[in-house]
Symmetry: C4
Subunit: 207 residues, 4 copies
């Protein structure tokens, strides 16, 4: 995949996610691996408005997050977290969305370090899951402006639970990933659905 | 109706239901009878992304679910459940949607095997219902990855309550049907409305 | 206004209200006065799908609801209620929508015969209201399949409270009206907003 | 920026905010500074329907709100409040939106004169905020039909808390602003997200 091809796809996805309320304002980042050796990644630049994206705002970075290509802006600090997920989870694409439901649930379940989603058919939309009886753990890590520290924490979570498909950062939304752009984008849709379902389910019987 | 005509209609409906959040990711299936003798059915293929459907993904199957036509993919395991509803309910079209509200309510009411919706004018949008005083029972069956077993359970429910217009599978969404595609699609809209209304009504007075 | 002009406007409004979830399936009706003497009214026909409206489905009726024009279908039974509102409220256009929030609130407040909305700035979007300190009573009448009986009840409510801008029918949505089509359509938007706001407000502090 | 350029931008924003439910009916106003010395401001006219805006409805006013340009209508009474924010907050653009969540929260928190939003990453979308640990106070002032009095109250709030990015008027929505149109529009999106998130968060654990 060339940077130009990646840029077109990421702009399309980002614009769609903005419309659906999952990447409002300048929130969220999307990335995709262009090559593995050496590692080259296309990623949304820092502080771009997801409702007005253009392909020039998609940047090419190396394994350390150094800027190699793109015509506008600079890499976001969150680039480090994307690179960590690409390495630790072996992901080819990483999506950081920031919806209301992931924000609410990340706060509600923070003191328990996360929560399980179990028994939902929609879980089968996650790569490799064959049955609704699957138990998906959704880790919640504390938010941190120090992205190196947050990357270290994400790595620890991924080492401990390599089977997960996503994680929440407290009051900061979700990271999910996949073996290609289409899979990662599907994981966004699946996990957003599940978050809304378990959130509303709980509101039927508040405790 | 030819396979090509059916494919065009099912793609249109699936794309609309995806946009409305009722068939996210690869969830849901839609089918319509092409002929009765011998039975030929057009149905969405396995694991297709409802946000990027194309007519080639609509397959033709026979009474046992064997693939007869279509250019891409293979029949979903849920084809068996569609065929069962076509036989047991005498349906010409079957819609399996998977929305947040049907998921939440199917879980909430599961231990009671279902719930009644009564006194709502919108019930008159269901075929044959003449008054809001109608009492519509919404059965909830346990989810099962064995589609033959789920088909047997659906048949038992339809034998016991032939007057129903839809059923929920626990944490797996809704099946509804009709005498033609337009009626089945209207039943989706009517039942989704009713689910949201009774769900929110309960949230006004949580117990 | 000619029938053709009215049909174009009513199709545009109905399609928009369907998209917003206020006239799903075949629910809801819209009408506008074409002439007063003799009374001629354009109104949506019976059982038309609001997601697929066409101008031929808009009918012309007289003061008794007798069909005078239009190319497709027949007048809905609810025509009688529209004609009653046109007479009793002196309305030039009547909108019957059927949203989730009006359905939920009409049920919740039914035993009190209605509820007041007071202190909301959005009330000033209702014709003649000059301050948010206005107290708008929203009557709720019991649903009835006998439209003559429902028309009699609506007339009684309008005689007793001529200052109201809309009323709810229990578990059946809302009627609102105005001095022209644009005013009536604005009243739909204003009242739908207020219903959602008071509904969610109550859910912040359930009792 | 000329009046014509401002009109084009304000119509685009207003139409988008209407579609998202933040400026329904005739609610809300948008303004942008055309020049500082002398002060010239472009602002949406009184009582215009935000779903049918056209550039002629954007008016030019001076520092006292006197009409200088525009082809249709007259300045809204709320022009005074926009001018006050332009002066007191040094804003170049002011957005008054009127969504369900701002309406609900302004009422819920009114007796405490406001509420704090703290610990949310989305806060960083507000100009000058560098960390989610930021504590943003959202003042709530009582609604008033006397716009001069409301302007005085807004000035007092802005003098006391010059660091704020927005304020709520009870049951009347939100005012936010920025150093240019794009920043002010981003603040709308950011604050609307935060209101919905803290509103739903509270509904998970109603008190």
């Amino acid at each position: 995949m060339t940077l130009a091809e990646a840029a077109e796809e990421l702009v399309r996805l980002g614009t769609d996610f903005h419309r659906r309320g999952w990447m409002l304002g300048t929130s969220g980042n999307l990335s995709v691996v262009l090559s593995r050796d050496p590692l080259r990644v296309a990623i949304t630049g820092s502080s771009i408005d997801k409702g007005r994206m253009n392909p020039g705002q998609i940047l090419e970075v190396d394994a350390e997050g150094k800027l190699l290509g793109g015509t506008e802006g600079r890499p976001s600090a969150e680039t480090l977290l994307h690179l960590e997920v690409i390495r630790s989870a072996g992901a080819e694409a990483v999506m950081h969305t920031h919806s209301v439901w992931t924000t609410v649930l990340s706060d509600y379940h923070h003191s328990r370090d996360g929560f399980a989603i179990e028994g939902y058919e929609m879980l089968k939309g996650l790569e490799g899951v064959q049955t609704h009886e699957h138990r998906e753990w959704i880790p919640v890590v504390e938010n941190n402006q120090d992205m190196s520290a947050l990357a270290v924490e994400a790595r620890a979570v991924l080492l401990k639970r390599p089977e997960i498909h996503g994680l929440l950062v407290r009051r900061h939304g979700m990271y999910t990933w996949g073996k290609d752009l289409r899979t990662a984008a599907r994981h966004v849709e699946i996990l957003e659905f599940l978050m809304e379902a378990v959130g509303r389910r709980q509101m039927m019987e508040p405790t």
